[in-house]
Amino acid sequence: MNQKIAITGMGIISSIGNNVEENFVSLKTGRHGISDIQMFETRHAGTFKTGEIKKSNEELVQQLQLSEDNNITRTSLLGMVAAKEAVESAGISDINGYRTGLISSTSVGGMDVTEKYFYSYEDFPEKQKYIDAHDAGNSSLAIADYLGLKGMVSTISTACSSAANAIMMGAKLIRNGVLDRVIVGGTDSLSKFTLNGFNTLMILTDSYNTPFDNDRKGLNLGEAAAYIVLESDEVVKKENKKVLAYLSGYGNANDAHHQTASSENGQGAFLAMQQALKVSGLNKENIDYINVHGTATPNNDLSEGIAMIRIFGEGQVPEFSSTKAFTGHTLAAAAGIEAVYSILAMQHGVIFPNLNFKTKMEEFDLTPITELKEKSIHHVLSNSFGFGGNCSTLIFSKS
């Protein structure tokens, strides 16, 4: 790519921390966030563990100082927390001072409230304000409103690859001079809808997820929100901005194999990684670390592993780890939080461990990094794949 895009801010809330610093400490000390479900009602509460954020909506409303008559659902509340941190960390005071946009992703939107009152809204007039908060687009408008942002706001929903696509679209808007600055990432809260959906697919583990392990049994769902701030070179220069890292490549492809399953040869993943490398202008040897999608489902890890070997060559796959054993799979937010983790890895020169790994998969010779490892990291490749065959890869580079 002829123009790397500067990243000047980041913000996050996940089950391992309420901000960037807390997330970093958890990643460094190996403290995961997978626990029993407490915050929403489901009969599976004792069966499945998730990466749940132990803050109630009321606490979040209070933290954000929203008015009591708000109709903000959990997805947007989490998004507001993370987006606010991102904007502050980028040192932005006048949000509309430049042409600023927000590209946010979500898969559930306001489903967590819809599923509570779906049949009974008629009986709860005071809850009817949430009807409008159901659609995914509403969550991004609410976050933009909270930030005081008036401008280009968009929502992307490509299942578990959503936030990678939000980041990608943001980069393209800056590269083409449509925007000067854009807040990109994603947010998803847990819901009964999603938990039961993944359960019907039989890809939830009844224990702790073990990415890239031969005996992996499935994923833990999680909830999170994370955003990074992308700014044009002109703004960076003019404002003398500190650059945290660069987005140097991106790729998007479709597996075109099955609505929910990944192909045997990982074609979509292969094409996404290939495209991202091409856009970045980097050689595959330049990649120091891969933050894999690594959901710990039998299907994903096999398909992704094969695609990595196809790209990098047998025995030449860079050091990699999945951070989903820490956070669970946070769906439309996943690529956002993994963008933050990729940047932290470069800033601090560490690879975060792939927790819970014991046995190498029998299909190939790939072993993730299982202990915190210090290493100078210049380029990170981050994968995110989703239902609908959506496959996306981002490449981050050290500033």
């Binding site: 489901t42 009969r43 599976h44 927000l102 898969s107 599923e115 779906f118 049949y119 809204y121 009817q128 009807i131 409008d132 659609d135 995914a136 687009g137 509403n138 991004s140 408008l141 933009a144 409103d145 942002l149 008036k150 401008g151 280009m152 706001v153 968009s154 929502t155 992307i156 929903s157 490509t158 299942a159 696509n165 679209m169 393209k172 808007l173 590269r175 083409n176 449509v178 009964k192 809808f193 039961n196 959906g197 359960n199 019907t200 697919l201 998007n252 492809a253 479709n254 597996d255 075109a256 194999h257 609505q259 929910t260 074609q267 094409l271 989703g386 239902f387 609908g388 065959g389 959506n390």
Partner: protein, 353 residues
């Protein structure tokens, strides 16, 4: 950014827009709360076993995208970009009902699998075995416009020559009930709706799908040049005219150069004020409206964009869309302005190809 061409256009809507002579047979509707899109004969396109499993939005998109590709003579697009406000709401609703009714037990995955917002784009890719760039925008009201913008960026970045772009939204039973409950949909006693001079709030809800092929190059079949797009999450009423003037200035176009303006008048008194403000800027242009033909919904602008394409190509304007009496000899430039209930505003500038 350079302009791109709209090289094909296909629409399934409340009108019979798949028919050749639909321009002469447009029927406005103002007396019911919801309007359903006319189903084509799906059997001509989709195997019967699949028809039963597919939701309306997937079926409509399957047919509309088929026609759009065929008309443009494209077998494999270089990107597939779909916009939808509500996504696959029929299957979402079915799965949610199963979850609640069965107390989270005895569930099957089919409806969940088909419930994700990107099902349409994914299904099209699957059907075409197309591994190309694949995106789904789910904005409140600007999903199609963002899809157009993305297609333009893909073409400008040299990543694509031909992009399949579509918008689609379907109705579901319970969502329509809830929209009546919160007065998104006009109260029965406020019907029939007056689309242009409404004194009551609420809209008549519709549905539909529209697909286009955007190309780098002009073809014999080109409908229009897509010059530019502007999107804003929020516009204050008194900023409306600056929002539009700024966009025109950015594109070196004067108000009098705009031959026709297609406005999103929906019969929602409160938010229609934006369109009234917009109309004031164009005293010498043909002013048009369309939601009496399509209904209001998250991607209603798919219908108006489709109509704009035909107006530019055929150089004819259906009388039923006219707000004023101004008629120009030639329609060269069309401006489309849309929002949903005052949120998520978009401007699209089209030029005769």
């Amino acid at each position: 950014m350079s302009a791109v061409y709209i090289n094909s256009a296909s629409c399934i809507s409340v009108q019979d827009t798949l028919k050749e002579n639909f321009f002469q047979n447009l029927n406005p509707e103002n007396s019911v709360q919801t309007l359903k899109a006319i189903d084509p004969n799906y059997k001509e396109f989709i195997p019967p076993a699949m028809i039963r499993r597919m939701s309306k939005t997937v079926k409509m998109s399957s047919v509309a995208s088929h026609y759009a590709l065929k008309e443009a003579g494209i077998e494999q697009p270089d990107a597939i970009i779909v916009g939808t406000g509500m996504g696959c709401s029929q299957d979402s609703e079915k799965f949610l009902k199963n979850v609640i009714d069965n107390h989270e037990e005895f569930l099957t995955p089919t409806f969940f699998i088909q419930s994700t917002h990107n099902t349409v784009a994914g299904q099209i890719a699957l059907g075409l075995q197309c591994h190309a760039y694949n995106f789904t925008y789910v904005n409140t009201s600007s999903s199609l416009e963002f899809s157009f913008l993305d297609a333009k960026l893909q073409i400008n970045d040299g990543e694509a020559d031909n992009v399949l772009v579509g918008s689609t939204d379907e109705q579901t039973g319970r969502t329509m009930e809830l929209y009546c409950l919160n007065n998104t949909i006009k109260k029965e006693e406020d019907l029939p709706a007056d689309y242009l001079h409404s004194e009551t709030n609420g809209v008549i809800w519709g549905e539909g799908a529209a697909f286009f092929v955007l190309g780098k190059n002009k073809t014999n079949n080109s409908y229009a040049r897509l010059k530019n797009i502007q999107i804003s999450s929020k516009v204050d009423l008194d900023e409306t005219q600056d929002f539009i003037d700024g966009f025109l200035a950015q594109n070196n176009v004067k108000n009098e150069d705009i031959d026709a303006v297609i406005l999103g008048f929906s019969g929602d008194a409160k938010s229609d004020l934006y369109y009234t403000k917009a109309a004031e800027l164009f005293p010498a242009s043909t002013l048009l409206y369309y939601k009496h033909l399509s209904g209001e919904f998250n991607t209603a602008s798919g219908f108006s964009t489709f109509m704009a394409c035909h107006i530019l190509k055929d150089q004819q304007i259906p009388d039923v869309m006219m707000i004023n009496d101004v008629k120009k000899g030639e329609v060269r430039n069309i401006l489309l302005y849309n929002h949903l209930a005052g949120e998520d505003h978009s401007l699209v500038l089209l030029e005769r190809a």
